[in-house]
Subunit: 532 residues, 2 copies
């Protein structure tokens, strides 16, 4: 309690409207300690519509000046954000732990990832080639008509609305992947804090606000809005100043934002990451040869972070082998002996319990933690089991249950696996376990899965998303709203950019990236050839 | 008449459903000769819902086999499509001229562009780097956790619905830019023919169908549906097999398809190119120094193709200079002496006349062709004139009138130009005429325009879109549905692709583009570095 009392001294509970703080409005909410279910001080004050309007207008005013800053200037700004987050020290880690009950060590790691992402985008801006510059020189005497000089590159989309994720209070929240990639692309950002961890949000926002001030960025470069209900978030998505949306959360919430954005007078791109059960296929050789290790690894993947990763394997397909029943028994035993743990919010806890109750009536097998005492937002880890035939006849068995549970599907044949794969909805990831001979024999399964996912994993689990240039954390709907994009890795930056073309412009009026001398020494395509 | 009689012998008037032809259904429509307004033989038969269903299922079945073909195989197929279109010879050119009244020479050029686009995408596939392959090698001993091997590249989205454009019967119709880029990306295509030029569509479809057969492509690689009304097109956009849509046409039609696609259980990307007035700003030095040449060039740009280019300059902003009134008089004189010419359809003619009548009552000045005799779908070219103050107070003056007309706006000051630019909707292109000193003085105008357009032109006109790697033929809504994309140039291919990531896959199971040895010798990013 001492730590939290200390932290509260630094939390004001009001929004960040550019360089000023929002009012202590009458509508308030608190974070909760998931281990007890009790409210945590202080109260946070919902932003008013007037404050939203002011933040949006500031962002609109910042659009051109912030978007036109040199990449190196934005890189320095992003590095300062990372430095300032680290400077928050244990204060940030302890508050995040208090609001989520996830362990300190998790947040030490998540902070490293968050600051790593900010610095990765800073590196990307300093290197500069991300804009994909292309130059086609004029051919004035071409017949029948002259060829003009044409040059193009990525430019920022404009102000972006970012919704914090419940399950990543740092890496996909205030200064997380969406914010970092949008700021990197040159877009002002307005963040809607998650009600589950508003104190964490306020600390991180103060780190960004300090960097905005220290680097003399336009005031509207960053705002953070607290909101108890949905009205402020919805109004933000509908605001004409907003040009794109980033969201991580439920399928219902994400689809609502997609529909709002599509119904605007001027529709805008929406990047929602929503719902995925990340189907995991065990091919015969895997179960035959590595049954014990795989059961333990699967258990770790299903229960890590209390099952609250978007990449949790929520569907597991098993072939008929001599080892299959031993594998299942082993996995059930491990689940039965997993301690209950609290989910992030009371709402997530209720959804988990309700969905579990429904699913129990639809499956053949069910095992959960054998403990009895549940406190706060605790739930029992569990595993369901069903035949492939039943799975095929009950489409809602493919729905995600957010939390430490998975569904084992027993397939009688390769054909059943293929049929199930063909019926799957879009997913963030799918895993296949086996050997190279399996891969050849199941090439048609791989071909089908490739059309369903953003990431296909061989002999590994879907949890743990590497932040690197080649990562694709995306996938067809309902995994995300836009299968063409990734939310993780350096490619995430182009979500918030659009191509702009300059025709016949004199060198003096072109962006540095498009000048003939290539002053930034970036990779470009010139007259069809890559070079720098 | 001899030529058209001959052509009719080869036209069946039925859809292409994979390798078979559709039925002679009861619902029929005809093309019209715009010079007379008379129907042209033969009748074309609307596809039935059953035929649509069959085409969609064939496309779905072709998705994986066609999408997994090597790029070189698809390249050869695209080259055959181009060869077959050329082999249609004058038959194609004469039918296109009959159905549109646009001159033969225009279609000789448009055919060259169409076949050039197909071969450009074939070259792109043969070169292979368009997939933007990235490889990050594993670091098994990395602390605290091993780094996995991660590789990603563009893969096809799946079957695409393409709607033919009224104003580009070849280059943005059956084998036009949308079809060529979708087929290149590895997506089967179902085309909805435009009712204005169904005979042209049937000829081009036969060229594609022959290439599908000769190259033994999966049957569902290509289908063409005729439809008198909107039902078949709408049903196609709603069909679950369809994964993306390409459309060129009116704002109302494009928005309707956007809304349909967004309301699907699984929303899909839609690329509509709709409405643009391509604002053209004359800065003082341009009018002072080149008044006469600019008036003639503007006239050519406004009236070329009977004003039916999406890039026609429909809004012209003039500064107050000593030469401005002479420029306007000269331009009005040229318009008054331009012969009437037929628009593509009776519907386009009616829309032009109705919009012109409304606009006459809202402006200060109006000049049109001084002729009297109008035949068929003829209209009079015209020019409207208004003050900047009036323009700012009447938002519908910014709406596009499709056809040979433009609106001159007299600006009293730079501030008025900036205010007008800030209020503009999204546009495909904007042009600025002046000298380098003007560009510096009007840097804030350029910065605003850059946020409004896909292409910014200096001392040139927006008509004439170069097909090259750097071209961006796109722009914010309502110019297009997706400002991140281009419909022209080699970058158009990524509209129909999405990123897919392979984690820890053995080399033997990876696509060629991602194998360690780089057998295709393509440009790739490996461990963060570009190379090949």
């Amino acid at each position: 309690m001492r730590a939290s009392a200390l932290l509260n001294m630094n939390l004001y509970g009001t929004s960040f409207i550019g360089s000023t703080r929002g009012a202590k409005t009458d509508e308030t909410f608190n974070a909760f300690d998931p281990t007890t279910g009790n409210a945590v001080e202080p109260a946070f004050h919902s932003a008013s519509i007037e404050e939203l309007e002011k933040a949006a207008n500031l962002a609109d005013a910042a659009r051109i000046p912030y978007g036109n800053l040199p990449g190196k200037t934005r890189a320095n700004f992003l590095r300062s954000v990372a430095d300032n987050i680290e400077a928050l020290g244990d204060t940030l880690i302890e508050r995040a732990t208090l609001e989520t009950s996830l362990p300190n060590a998790r947040f030490v790691g998540e902070r490293a990832r968050t600051c790593g992402q900010l610095r990765m985008f800073a590196d990307l801006l300093e290197e500069g080639s991300w804009v994909e510059a292309r130059i086609d020189h004029a051919i004035p005497d071409r017949q029948p008509i002259p060829k003009p000089d044409v040059r193009s590159m990525y430019r920022p989309l404009g102000p972006v609305a970012v919704f914090c994720a419940s399950n990543f209070p740092l890496a996909y929240s205030v200064a997380g992947g969406d914010t970092a990639s949008a700021l990197a692309a040159g877009c002002p950002v307005i963040v809607i804090a998650h009600t589950a961890h508003p104190g964490t949000a306020e600390f991180v926002a103060s780190a960004i606000a300090k960097a905005v001030k220290d680097h003399e960025m336009p005031e509207g470069t960053f705002s953070l809005l607290f909101s108890k209900g949905y009205e402020i978030g919805q109004a933000l998505v509908k605001h004409p100043a907003i040009r794109a949306v980033g969201f991580t959360g439920s399928r219902r919430g994400g689809r609502a934002l997609m529909d709002l954005a599509a119904a605007r007078p001027e529709p805008i791109p929406v990047y929602t990451e929503m719902s995925s059960v990340n189907p995991t296929f065990f091919l015969p050789s895997a179960i035959e040869k590595r049954s014990e290790a795989l059961a333990s690894d699967l258990h770790a993947s299903v229960t890590g972070g209390v099952g609250q990763f978007c990449t949790k394997p929520g569907l597991v397909f098993l072939p008929q082998t001599a080892e299959t029943s031993a594998f299942i028994s082993n996995f059930r035993y491990q689940i039965a002996n997993t301690k209950p743990a609290p989910l992030l919010t009371g709402g997530i806890q209720k959804a988990y319990k309700d969905a579990s109750e429904t699913r129990k009536s639809e499956v053949d097998g069910f095992t959960e933690t054998t403990s009895t005492e549940l406190k706060g937002f605790d739930v029992n880890p569990s595993v369901f089991e069903v035949s492939a035939a039943d799975f095929l006849s009950k489409p809602d068995l493919g729905d995600e249950i957010f939390g430490p549970t998975t569904l084992i599907v027993n397939a009688d044949s390769k054909e059943e696996m293929l049929q199930i794969a063909g019926d799957l909805e879009g997913q963030l990831a799918a895993s296949v376990h086996g050997d190279e001979a399996d891969l050849a024999e199941y090439a048609d399964l791989i071909a089908i899965l490739e059309t369903k996912v953003g990431r296909l994993i061989f002999n590994g689990f879907s949890t743990g998303v590497e932040v690197c240039p080649s990562m694709v954390h995306g996938g067809p709907y309902p995994a995300t709203s836009d299968s063409r994009s990734t939310a993780v890795g350096s490619r995430a930056i182009t979500r918030f950019a659009r191509l702009v073309c300059f025709q016949n412009f004199p060198d003096s009026a072109l962006p540095e990236e498009l000048k003939d001398s290539n002053p930034l020494a970036i990779w470009r395509m010139t007259d069809g050839e890559m070079g720098r």
